[in-house]
């Protein structure tokens, strides 16, 4: 099996072909590892968890941004596999791209819990009341592993380097949709902008390539709706409040343990 990799050494770039033997279960990452360990030690690419949950190994495989660790070679059904670094990111070496701008944009949308009363975020006496149904409103968008595939697939991103991009916008919506969050107003300045949500024209490619089913396109359209509602009708969402629990005695940080006692241990069998 042949694999053609786009390489870059800091000044020039070229295509390099490798011939590798592929087994049935091999993923593209397995192939790349074989090349690096057996044929060419200089091939540079990122990888880590090898099970599709860390987001390190995003690259463009046969023209589609994919995670190398969960793209099985046989499923590609091509004689020649073409591997390139992620589109829309500056390339540093071979398949390694610069994520500095990407993480910066994510931070810009304030992707953290905002409450009107910030002290509620530091209080560990109880949890917020969130029903399973309410959980459903945002948990899909919390699946994001920040691999950058959506930004690489986005046609708008290719034209506007200042566009926040599907990853950041979907993460903004993840908090906007969270019943515990009250921060839409704080985020409006960044989101309600020509380079914010309104730059998105819904090509849907972000959702198409997302390896975790986050569906950023859906999140961004919902975000547009929420921003319009806020701007036009000044509507406010109802947020959930902390549960009131029976007061439990607070344990000091450095709780001294009690003197040894005879604890009668009984096996609790699983019902």
């Amino acid at each position: 099996m042949k694999i053609r990799i786009r390489r870059f050494d800091g000044s020039k770039s070229w295509w390099q072909d490798y011939e590798v033997e592929a087994k049935e279960r091999d993923t593209v990452l397995d192939i790349l590892l074989k090349i690096r360990e057996r044929q060419d030690h200089t091939l540079a690419f990122r990888h880590s968890c090898q099970m599709g949950s860390c987001g390190s190994c995003g690259m463009v495989i046969n023209g589609k941004p994919s995670l190398a660790c969960q793209t099985r070679v046989l499923e590609l059904k091509t004689e020649l596999i073409r591997v390139e670094p992620l589109y829309n990111f500056p390339v540093l070496r071979d398949l390694v791209v610069d994520l500095t701008g990407f993480v910066g944009k994510h931070r810009a949308v304030k992707p953290w819990m905002i409450r009107r009363n910030p002290e509620e975020l530091e209080d560990a006496s109880s949890e917020f009341v969130v029903t399973p149904q309410q959980n459903m409103s945002f948990v899909q968008f919390d699946y994001c592993i920040m691999c950058g595939l959506c930004d690489a697939a986005c046609p708008t991103m290719a034209l506007d380097p200042l566009f926040l991009g599907p990853q950041a916008l979907a993460q903004a919506y993840r908090y906007v949709a969270d019943p515990r969050d009250e921060g839409l107003d704080d985020r409006l300045e960044v989101l309600d902008d020509a380079h914010g949500v309104w730059r998105c024209h819904f090509a849907g490619s972000c959702s198409y390539v997302c390896p975790k089913g986050v569906d950023p396109a859906k999140a961004i359209q919902f975000l547009k709706k929420d921003i319009l509602k806020r701007r036009l009708f000044r509507s406010k969402k109802e947020s959930s409040s902390p549960a009131t629990l029976p007061k439990v005695e607070k344990v000091p940080d450095n709780a001294p343990h009690p003197p040894p006692f005879d604890y009668k241990f009984e096996e609790v069998s699983q019902a």
Binding site: G63, Q140, L159, A177, F202, G213, D215, Q221, K225
Partner: protein
């Protein structure tokens, strides 16, 4: 990054942006929407130029100015009709697809609800209702466009 490199990146970005090969159906509608948008914008500029001559004719109280503009346009012959046909198609497509986008973006329709993603993941925003809307729009636009073509040909006296 040097400005030269940025320029290079920008150019390849334009090509990538307009090349939907290997991506989803909505990416094709995105491409068409952008291209038809540019055509309409160009047409509007030409149209303003045309209207400007009407204004000139009124201001100078000289209808001849307008007649000569019309004559110039007619001298394009079949090209004028083809141009109008393309503009008609662009307007139809841009309008109809725009309606779908309004449903998506303003009302959050055709997108499904937030769900627990199920492997293999198929995004609800690109699933059945969305695809159906795209196909319906395409069918209606193509039908109307053919009709517009026939109408224009009739105007030429071909049919």
């Amino acid at each position: 990054m040097s400005s030269e490199e940025q320029e290079k990146g920008y150019k390849s970005g334009l090509i990538r942006s307009l090349n939907p090969k290997g991506f989803n159906l909505e990416r094709y509608t995105y491409m068409l929407h952008r291209i038809t948008g540019v055509i309409l914008a160009l047409y509007l500029i030409a149209h303003i130029f045309e209207i400007y001559h009407v204004g000139l004719a009124v201001l100078n109280n000289n209808p001849q100015i307008w007649y000569s503009t019309l004559a110039e346009l007619s001298s394009l012959g079949i090209l004028e009709q083809i141009g109008l046909w393309i503009v008609a198609g662009s307007a139809l497509y841009h309008g109809a697809n725009g309606l779908r986008l309004i449903l998506n973006e303003v009302f959050g329709m055709l997108l499904g609800k937030p769900v627990l993603p199920e492997y293999p993941y198929s995004p609800t925003s690109l699933s059945r209702p969305q695809k159906a809307a795209v196909y319906i729009i395409t069918a209606v636009v193509v039908a109307l466009w053919i009709w517009a073509g026939l109408y224009l040909l009739a105007g030429l006296g071909v049919i």
